[in-house]
């Protein structure tokens, strides 16, 4: 395999600084790949794809009579993140999610942030994810966004930006773990030499968090995952997580509300459920509270939730913070609640509901990325520079009709990473979705899902739009013998015990250490 001809071009490349010059942490990887005989890399790529198929890590292709299943396209060259960069990402995510949780709790209670004139009430009320039914609710421990999958991108200058927060039902974490399993089979030697931080303990941490939300006397709480069913495109992930945690995977019809509690139907009668990790949208949770025509949810569920007899993760109503107009306020939200400057910045965003900004957007559409406020999955996005006059005009009309529903952002020059194309490597744009759990403390899984736009030149990484993924290797922490701060919890974690957070980080420490201590112990 010849990588010396790989050209990072005019982009920030995650693996190569320049032609023939890998970034320092990627040195071992590149040297090993170059020593492989011709065709070897391609052979391993095919073997990896077969492994995904055998493991059943597939998604359903909709509207396919033959029940066609595809694997989520996977590229075996890992994306590598240096320890120092990761520490920064981790601190930034903790800060952001801590603040967003305070924001959610506030807007469903006193709305101080509105009264203090930071976020206009109109924007909150008009956000599609805002649920007036959730006003005054007190989810256990004051946590609303238990599971977050923040989308990060890197611009041409190597700076990281947050693209979306995804605090409803983010998916993809099963692919992170699946990718890692397959990579261990694919590159055992490189893996051992580089020792990336482990991700496989995510299900245990998820279970800890979920059980923490449902504490009750007399035995561990009963946790279940609520799925829309086997035909949902993320079904694999739902079943994977249930299986890894050893909890029941339920559909709406397995559940029933009786005498004010939530039960599931078992072979021995009805069994009480304490925590529901739901993977269906708010709209479908309870036909008596939200959409009447929903067959996926459980009639009466919200009454049980209001009475504090079941925990729902994520809490209903979190979607308000996923609104892309609210997103534009996150730097102010962080400052308002935490008194800190935001670490991971937003992409510069223009809100079309503000007349001055709208005028700018309409004038510069061909340079900007325009997004609707409420879509996800790569839908509702117009990339100005890749568009045509006619489409731009059509979007201009839509913006004028409903300015509240549109934002615009500067077109970033997304960073790239090499992928295997036949016997060569070519650069493709990538993003990163780390997963964050908020329970007793905030836990950030090291790495996350690196999504890659496999179509040459494409900026859209979503799997529904021809995207694939890569394994993400966060390099082990470099020991800091002098002023060793463990990189544990950030400042400002006041509400959910800080001491606890540090204890947790310390307990996790041996996982990311190199193997030397164990060897030293074994020696005598």
């Amino acid at each position: 395999m010849k990588l010396d001809r790989y050209n990072p071009g005019d982009f920030y490349d995650e693996v190569f600084e320049a032609v023939g010059k890998p970034r320092p942490p990627a040195g071992v990887l590149v040297r090993t790949l170059e020593s492989m005989p011709e065709g070897e890399l391609n052979r391993r790529q095919l073997a990896a794809e077969k492994a995904f198929l055998d493991l059943g890590i597939t998604f359903n292709v909709y509207n396919s009579q033959s029940g066609l299943e595809r694997i989520f396209p996977f590229d075996i060259l890992p994306r590598i993140i240096e320890a120092s960069e990761w520490d920064f990402i981790e601190r930034g995510l903790r800060q952001r999610i801590h603040a967003l949780n305070l924001f959610l709790d506030d807007i469903y209670h006193d709305q101080r942030i509105v009264r203090d004139g930071i976020v206009p009430l109109e924007l909150i009320r008009s956000a599609k994810g805002y649920r007036k039914e959730c006003h005054g609710l007190n989810p256990p421990w004051g946590v609303w966004c238990h599971i977050t999958g923040t989308d990060l991108v890197k611009d041409g200058d190597g700076r990281l930006y947050v693209l979306e927060d995804n605090i409803r039902c983010p998916s993809g974490v099963s692919y992170v773990i699946g990718n890692r399993q397959v990579m261990k089979r694919t590159f055992p030697q490189i893996f051992g030499a580089m020792n990336p931080r482990p991700v496989e303990d995510y299900p245990s941490r998820l279970l800890d968090m979920l059980q923490f939300m449902g504490q009750r006397s007399g035995g561990p709480p009963c946790v279940a995952i609520l799925t829309p069913g086997v035909y949902n495109s993320a079904y694999f992930e739902h079943s994977f997580l249930a299986q890894q945690m050893g909890v029941d995977l339920v559909t709406g019809s397995d559940l029933a509300v009786r005498d004010g509690y939530l039960y599931m139907r078992t072979t021995r009668g009805f069994k009480k459920v304490d925590v529901l990790y739901r993977r269906i949208d708010d709209d479908f949770l309870d036909p008596r509270t939200f959409r009447e025509d929903s067959l996926l949810g459980v009639p009466g569920l919200m009454d049980v939730y209001r009475a504090g007899r079941v925990a729902i993760c994520n809490a209903p109503g979190t979607g308000v913070a996923d609104d892309k107009v609210i997103y534009a306020y996150v730097p102010k939200i962080v400052e308002y609640y935490l008194g800190e400057e935001i670490l991971l910045p937003n992409v510069e965003t223009y809100m079309c509901w503000v007349p001055g900004e709208r005028a700018y957007v309409l004038e510069h559409m061909a340079e900007l990325v325009i997004k609707t406020a409420n879509d996800s999955g790569g839908y509702g996005v117009l990339i100005g520079p890749h568009s045509t006059k006619a489409v731009l005009n059509e979007w201009a009309e839509r913006i004028k009709d409903n300015p509240r529903n549109f934002i615009a952002q500067r077109t970033l020059s997304l960073s790239r990473s090499p992928v295997i194309v036949g016997d060569e490597c070519e650069g493709r744009h990538v993003d990163l979705r780390p997963f964050v759990l908020y329970g007793r403390d905030i836990y950030v899984m090291p790495g996350g899902l690196t999504r890659v736009a496999l179509k040459k030149g494409s900026l859209v990484v979503n799997s529904s739009q021809g995207g694939g993924s890569k394994d993400t290797w966060v390099m082990p922490a470099v020991p800091e013998p002098l002023n060793g701060h463990a990189g544990g919890s950030p400042g400002g974690l006041s509400r959910i015990g800080q001491a606890d957070g540090q204890a947790h980080a310390a307990a996790a420490e041996p996982l990311v250490q190199p193997e030397t201590p164990a060897l030293a112990k074994a020696a005598p």
């Binding site: 055998d54 059943g56 079943s239 299986q243 559909t251 009786r258 139907r265 078992t266 072979t267």
Partner: protein
Amino acid sequence: MLSRVADSIYWMARYIERAENVARYVDVALQSSLDGQKNPGSQWMPLVAAAGDRGMFLEKYGEAMASREGGDAVMRFLAFDQEYPNSIVSCVTKARENARQVRGSLALEAWEHLNKFYHFLISAEARRRAVESPHDFFSEIRTASYLFEGIVESTMSRGEEWNFMKLGRALERADQTSRILDVKYFILLPTPSDVGSVVDDLLWAALLHSVSGYEMFRRRHGRILPEKVVDFLVLDREFPRAVLFCLERAEECLLNLSGTPMGSFRNNAEKQVSRLRANLAYTNVEEVISQGLHEFLDNLQNGLNQVGEGIFETFFALETQSQFQFQQ
């Protein structure tokens, strides 16, 4: 465990067993047709009849295909027809769909094996193999089923899941053995007066081979006599594919599930299975044959259906129970 999960495990086991049995019958028909039978075409339609789907076959493929030598149409129908609900491919697809819903109850290896089996069956490679070396192909299906059973046997906790799995397998096996006997007996021995007459050893041997029971039969009964074969396949308590053996296992599973002592019952499923098992336990082959084997097997099949209904109403359709049981 969740009722829906129990339901899925039960049906997963049934469908795998069904796929295996279809493979057995087709394979044995293939073998027999190579044995220089006088009328080789006649080997094939009984297979379709055994599954009770003669009408659907004739509608799709026509009379001419039914008697065609080599049986490739029948083979295609029974192995690969995705529209035919009891074809091997349909059964394995449904088994896998059920498995997908109960991944948490299966070891990863069990799922991975079933998944690979499915991907193999829907591949072009499988169709090519079935044509080029059918015997190898059908052996592979059988082996895949054995392997699944073996993985489950050595990895699954002996809890409720296990009992539902074994229950499904035992009932399906009892059903399949009774069906194949019904069809074959009808062809081999049309009237009771033929009992004791000299019959074609080869045909009876083929029947025994189709349930992998040839060797076991020989050791137990020696000479191949029709009534002994019936005795062996229906009333034997040691041969694992005999109907009575399967019913005893099914009864055990149901009693395990509820903790009911042997000889009593607490729900309709237990009542039905114990009654059926007792019927077989307290009869002998002479009675069966004088009553008429076909009628006997017909009643047996009705009994098996009632057991299935009992299981459904006891475990899977919780809402119909008159009073709710609550667990904390």
